[in-house]
């Protein structure tokens, strides 16, 4: 069981959700985060104050999947979140020590396998 973390552009969040749905990856959480990934800083001016916005809005997806689903999930994220410009985001895959489905007490693979699959 792995945790796939995808940090993507906020305007791509809906495309990512759609791609995950098509890849039959269920069970997603997302948070709005701010980050910096080497893209050019955006300059904003408010009256006499000019600032470089060092952090950009991003959306962070967290998806726990069984090993056989990892590549599918990564492909879905890459294909749906890419624009080709700097700032498209990153994907991190980390091993999960344990996963528990609260409702049933199922653990690990069966905890991250969607119902009816």
């Amino acid at each position: 069981v792995k945790l796939v973390i995808g940090i993507v552009r906020p305007e791509k969040a809906n495309d990512v959700l759609e791609a995950l749905y098509r890849a039959e990856v269920r069970g997603v959480s997302m948070t709005r985060v701010q980050g910096h990934g080497g893209e050019l800083d955006r300059v904003e001016t408010y009256r006499g104050t000019t600032v470089k916005m060092g952090l950009s809005d991003k959306v962070r997806f967290e998806i726990a999947v069984s090993d056989s689903f990892v590549d599918l999930t990564i492909d879905a994220l890459c294909n749906s979140a890419r624009t080709g410009e700097v700032g498209d985001g990153k994907i991190f895959v980390v091993p999960l020590e344990r996963a528990v489905r609260i409702r049933t007490g199922e653990t690990d693979k069966s905890a991250v396998t969607p119902l009816g699959a």
Binding site: E11, Q34, D41, V43, T49, T50, V51, G54, L55
Partner: protein, 430 residues
């Protein structure tokens, strides 16, 4: 040194005092509209949407003084006014013929109409039209569409001299903006995500507050359109209270029937529809009929708002439904229910004057056709000279950052100060 007279002969102090206030009331409607529109768009487009209204404040006001006022109100040519008042030549303290207020004030009052109407059209193209081309469009529109329609309806043009009654702008303001909005939406095209994603209003409180301030300003808009504190001004003012209230009630019922819930954004919309509906009729129909008009006007506008998002026409903020259709309803309503005993001008069909309905129907046809066609042509020509809309990627990022380099809800987190002349060495500051 000879002292100037306090006011020119023929100027009424009471009328002038009211019209000074009414002008300020109508001017408030443009930022109120900015608030209303800004709440209806996504957070990333808040400022750009508001700035389109601010753009109208800039461009339409200047061009009104340069040439728009003259084309609308200089002389009684059937299609267009003259250029005699261009650059405000001859616009001074002498009373405007037909009123007892100085022409200078009359010009300012009419300017506020041109501004808010120009701003209204932006509702069709928000969230994707580039700001520069919008400013050029707004300038051209305020002259080629607004000033022309204002001349037809108010300035002695063919509609007014032919007998059409239009109290405060059913033709130039409401149908003018509404049907232009439809043309603009067709030429500029739908937003990239239209029909693919839910594009929801980001702040319903702005929408309600904007609608409330618009209603407040509308008392000057309709109440001032008699240019006096006489009966017809009082009637128009009072009808501006009654009609939108009835529209609200009916809108609540329609909402209940549709979804079993009365919606806040629906209520804000109903206020606008009611105010628009009474605009052309305000000084011409009795308070009782004004209340009926409020109820009647809700129906077609509600229907268009329900159906339009299911089409491919991304007329984003429903200017057509709220202004074009409600203005159409109001203009026709006069043809049935105008009453000489209330307005001193003409009866409608119900009171034995069928011809009035014909005059009104003519305006209800001519206004939309001209506004739609001219707006379509302006934007097609402009679109051949420059791209009208932002690229798909830019649209995704949002117009605020792209066009203005600002955000409506900047947190300051991660912001690094670039240039500061106020930088003081710590030791010196002590």
């Amino acid at each position: 040194m000879a002292s100037l007279p306090i006011a020119a002969a023929g100027v009424s102090a009471g009328d002038t005092a009211w019209m000074l206030a009414a002008t300020a009331l109508v001017l408030l409607m443009t930022p109120a509209l900015g608030l209303f529109y800004a709440g209806l768009v996504r957070a990333k487009n808040t400022l750009n949407t508001f700035m389109m209204c601010a753009g109208a404040l800039a461009v339409a006001t200047v061009l009104w003084a340069v040439v728009g006022y003259s084309l609308a109100f200089d002389g009684t040519g059937s299609i267009l006014g003259g250029l005699g008042n261009s650059f405000l030549q001859g616009v001074d303290f002498a009373p405007r013929p037909g009123t007892e207020i100085p022409e200078l004030l009359f010009m300012a009052f009419q300017a506020t109409f041109c501004i808010v109407t120009t701003a209204l059209v932006s509702g069709a193209v928000v969230e994707r039209m580039r700001f520069g081309p919008f400013l050029i469009f707004a300038g051209l529109w305020s002259i080629l569409v607004y000033a022309v329609l204002a001349h037809w309806a108010f300035g002695g043009g063919w509609l007014q001299s032919g007998g059409t009654l239009d109290f405060a702008g059913g033709v130039p303001v409401e149908m003018g903006s509404g049907f232009s909005a439809l043309a603009a939406a067709l030429v500029v095209g739908a937003r990239r995500d239209y029909g693919r994603q839910a594009l929801l209003p980001h702040n319903a409180v702005y929408v309600l507050l904007g609608a409330g301030l618009l209603w407040f300003g509308w008392f000057g808009f309709n109440g001032g359109s008699a240019f006096s504190v006489g009966n017809s001004g009082v009637l128009a003012f009072t009808n501006t209270l009654l009609t939108p209230a009835c529209t609200l009630v009916v809108w609540f019922i329609l909402d209940l029937v549709r979804d079993r819930k009365i919606t806040a954004i629906g209520a804000a919309t109903a206020i606008i529809v009611g105010c628009v509906g009474i605009t052309p009729a305000a000084g011409y129909i009795s308070p009782g009929w004004a209340m009926v008009l409020g109820a009647v006007a809700a129906l077609p506008s509600y229907a268009v708002i329900a159906v339009r998002p299911r089409t491919r026409v991304d007329e984003t903020l429903d200017v057509l439904a709220a202004h074009g259709i409600a203005g159409f309803t109001g203009i026709l309503f006069i043809g049935f229910f105008a009453q000489v005993s209330w307005n001193g001008a003409a009866d409608g069909l119900l009171y034995g004057n069928a011809a009035q309905l014909g005059h009104q129907a003519l305006a209800a046809l001519a206004g939309p056709v001209y506004a739609f066609t001219m707006t379509y042509v302006i934007l097609r020509v402009l679109g051949a000279l420059m791209p009208l809309r932002a690229s798909a990627n830019d649209e995704a990022v949002g117009m605020d950052v792209l066009e203005h380099g600002e955000e409506a809800y900047a947190s300051g987190e991660g912001a690094i100060l670039v240039r500061t002349d106020a930088e003081v060495p710590v030791a010196d500051a002590a």
